[in-house]
């Protein structure tokens, strides 16, 4: 059992947990993820490691409530427990001194980009972060980002904060004006794909962190296979980060829709049941 030491609400349906998992905290590096299972009937879901405190043995996860498991996770309380928690999984981000780096994040991807930015800054890079959200209320972790980025820019769909438009509008401005050595993107697939298309024109190396459906997360099942440069790769052991210009995005989008109907059944079921029991949601 893994104890939830600290719980915070970062925004609408976005929650943060610090979880006691000393081994994982000690060995985790930027770009890696964990797989957790809430209880005996739960599914295994991957979540990126947002932060660690090796001294206290804590791992931070930040998640958006989108499906049954994340909603249920959100109901757990500080001092409560998660049944299973394994990590760090996946290859860490390759951190080098690239020079001028732009990190693009969308939605809850903001949490996932934090440790990468930290590591890149420590390696001597200049990091500009471009963060997108539908509106101002959905922006999370602004304070943390301000502390670690050289430059921070926001894009909202409705213009309620930063530039009105998409992260790609801002990114285009940047790469038109200055020479960027590498772009790192993490967020919804359509966003990562749009970033990939944009940087491909200018031939700027771009890394993305992919989120395919996963089960065991140790290379055993092949559920998370993605086609990169025409070859099948397992995102859990060979990724989750890949060269954005070589990813077969159409296939990834299709594979993410695999269980959409069943996921809806699961969520509806859960919401109906929790309404009956305690009248919440």
């Amino acid at each position: 059992m893994f104890k939830i030491i600290l719980k915070e609400e970062l925004g609408q349906n976005v929650k943060s947990f610090f979880i006691e998992a000393a081994d994982t905290a000690r060995n985790a590096k930027a770009g890696q993820f964990v797989i957790l299972r809430i209880n005996d009937k739960g599914e295994r879901i991957p979540l990126t490691i947002a932060d660690t405190d090796a001294q206290k043995g804590l791992v931070r996860i930040i998640f958006q409530e989108t499906g049954k498991t994340t909603y249920e996770l959100g109901t757990l309380k500080e001092g409560g427990y998660i049944k299973d928690f394994v990590g760090p999984l996946g290859q860490p981000t390759e951190i080098e001194n690239y020079g001028n780096v732009v990190a693009v994040a969308g939605g809850v991807g903001t949490a996932e980009v934090l440790p990468v930015i930290k590591s890149l800054r420590n390696a001597g890079n200049k990091v500009t972060a471009v963060v997108g959200a539908r509106n101002k209320d959905l922006i999370i972790l602004e304070k943390e980002l301000r502390e670690i980025c050289d430059e921070l820019l926001f894009a909202t769909d409705d213009g309620s904060y930063g530039t009105k438009g998409f992260v790609t509008d801002i990114l285009k401005n940047i790469i038109d004006k200055e020479s960027v050595n590498i772009v790192y993107a993490i967020g919804p697939v359509p966003m990562m794909m749009a970033v990939a298309n944009l940087t491909k024109e200018k031939n700027i190396k771009t890394l993305v962190s992919l989120n395919p459906i996963m089960v065991d997360g140790t290379g055993m099942c092949g559920a998370c296979r993605v086609t990169v440069d025409g070859k099948t790769k397992f995102a859990c052991v060979e990724g989750p980060e890949f060269d954005a210009h070589k990813v077969n995005w159409t296939e990834l989008i299709s594979r993410l829709s695999l269980f959409r109907d069943l996921e809806k059944v699961s969520l509806d079921n859960y919401k109906n049941n929790s309404e009956c029991k305690c009248g919440r949601e």
Partner: protein
């Protein structure tokens, strides 16, 4: 010569709808009759055919005297997982193959008798070995992986007095025994009893630990583990590399079986993990895993399950019993056939498998005749789900993250005659070094345990 007592089994049309055991097990009367068939050979060849060297004539003698309590004791001297082995070992190519009776008729049903002994012990709550029964020597040993190799090594080392800790990356114990073998062949409660016996010996299990990532081999040594056994198995599923292979509802057998067996997806949405329940399903492969996948798919409600294999049924690696059971239950075998591409609908879901007919040519290095394409013989099979059961490659995670741990060109760990890897004190066995079946993995776990003991005795002569 009296005929071998047939293992009683449930009717095909009844059993293919649920996950209850296919084989029911001998009654006492059947057991006695079968045990009495054993000739009690002076030179028992059957034992030579047993990877864990069970004293087969001796335990069968006890059974024939109607003394199962003594029989299980004899088995347990060599085998910590008799209820598992009695069910899933390919006895026909091991102990039973060497049985003298098989020269003239049918061999003794050694596996069935082993199963009877283990099931009798479980039903009659035999006193478990407790840690106080064993002289502890205080030396810590780490086992990585809780599959058949790891569990066997753990059991043997605990019996020798070592303080054994097993690390497992998944959230439950058993490895392939839990996620890979369906309940109609190996019920979970049977596995739980075997694991319970190991726990009662004082073996500690630490779950959710992917050694290499969560904890390194170096850290294990720093935590004062004096020796390490690696039994991480063959992790990576093999894919064909043909067009359309990543279409939706094309699964590796591992993914399909993990969803159903480990994650209980057959009981969705009561359990949270989903699985697609296909109607027309194509399985590709001819091993036990292919049979398990096909029969599981059928039990989830498929109306047609076709098994496509590139050689003939004679060359299939699956056990004869499993092939027979599969066919009786309604699995259609399409042999001398290989898929060439998967065809999808506009949304990316598989709708057909294009296959080509094959013929057998000259023997290859494995001695089996090599299948060749019959050009122009392409044909399509309609399918809304396909499962690839083509074998596994060794899991690269631990070797790639452990400096000095050498692998061969296929990714298997290299071990010496003493089961030791390229790192002193680190031993390995099972699929990660190329072992193939459950019992081979167990045999290797057993041998490795012996060598670990010798190694540690040499290191710490004072503990002798």
């Amino acid at each position: 010569m009296r005929q071998r007592m047939k293992m009683p089994e449930r009717l095909p049309n009844e059993r293919n709808k649920d996950f209850l055991q296919v084989n029911i097990g001998y009654t006492r009367k059947q057991m006695l009759e079968e045990a009495k068939r054993c000739l009690q050979c002076k030179k028992p060849f059957c034992v030579e055919g047993c990877p864990v060297e069970i004293n087969i004539p001796k335990f069968i003698k006890e059974l024939s005297d109607d003394n199962p309590a003594q029989a299980i004791k004899i088995i347990k001297q060599k085998n910590n997982l008799p209820a598992v082995c009695g069910r899933v070992c390919p006895q026909e190519s091991q102990c039973e193959k060497y049985c003298i009776l098989s020269r003239k008729g049918e061999s003794v049903g050694i596996g069935n008798l082993e199963r009877y002994s283990a099931d009798w012990a479980a039903a009659n709550a035999q006193k478990k070995t407790s840690p106080s029964d064993i002289n502890k020597n205080g030396i810590k040993i780490a086992i990585i992986g809780s599959g058949p190799a790891g569990l066997t090594a753990a059991g043997d080392l605990a019996n020798m007095g070592y303080e054994v800790t097993v690390f497992e990356s998944l959230h439950d114990i058993g490895g392939v025994l839990r996620y890979g073998i369906p309940e109609f062949r190996l019920p979970l409660d049977v596995l739980e009893i075997e694991i319970g016996n190991l726990k009662s010996m004082g073996i500690e299990f630490i779950l959710n630990t992917l050694v290499g990532r969560t904890k390194t081999v170096k850290e294990l040594f720093e935590e004062d583990f004096k020796s390490i056994f690696i039994g991480t198995g063959a992790g990576l599923p093999v894919f064909l590399g043909i067009e359309g292979e990543n279409l939706n509802h094309i699964y590796s057998a591992n993914e399909f079986l993990v969803r159903v067996n480990l994650m209980r997806a057959f009981d969705f949405p009561n359990y949270d993990t989903p699985v697609y329940k296909g109607k027309n399903i194509v399985i590709i492969g001819g091993g036990n895993t292919a049979m398990d996948s096909a029969r599981t798919a059928l039990r989830l409600g498929a109306s047609s399950v076709k098994l496509v294999y590139r050689r003939t049924e004679n060359e299939m690696p699956a056990r004869k019993e499993e092939r027979l059971h599969a066919q009786e239950e309604g699995i259609e075998f399409i042999t001398l056939t290989n898929p060439v591409k998967f065809i999808g609908d506009e949304k990316g879901f598989v709708k057909a498998v294009e296959c080509i007919k094959m013929e057998l040519g000259e023997p290859d290095e494995s001695g089996r005749r090599r299948p060749k394409k019959v050009e122009g013989s392409n044909f399509g099979i309609e399918a809304d789900m396909a499962i690839l059961a083509l074998g596994l490659n060794p899991n690269p995670v631990l070797p790639s993250l452990t400096e000095g741990l050498n692998t061969d060109s296929h990714g298997y760990l290299i071990i010496d005659d003493n089961y030791m890897t390229s790192i002193p004190g680190v031993f390995a066995g099972g699929d990660i070094v190329g072992g193939d079946t459950v019992i081979q993995a167990m045999g290797m776990g057993k041998q490795a345990a012996k060598r670990i003991n010798e190694y540690l005795k040499n290191l710490h002569p004072t503990n002798n």
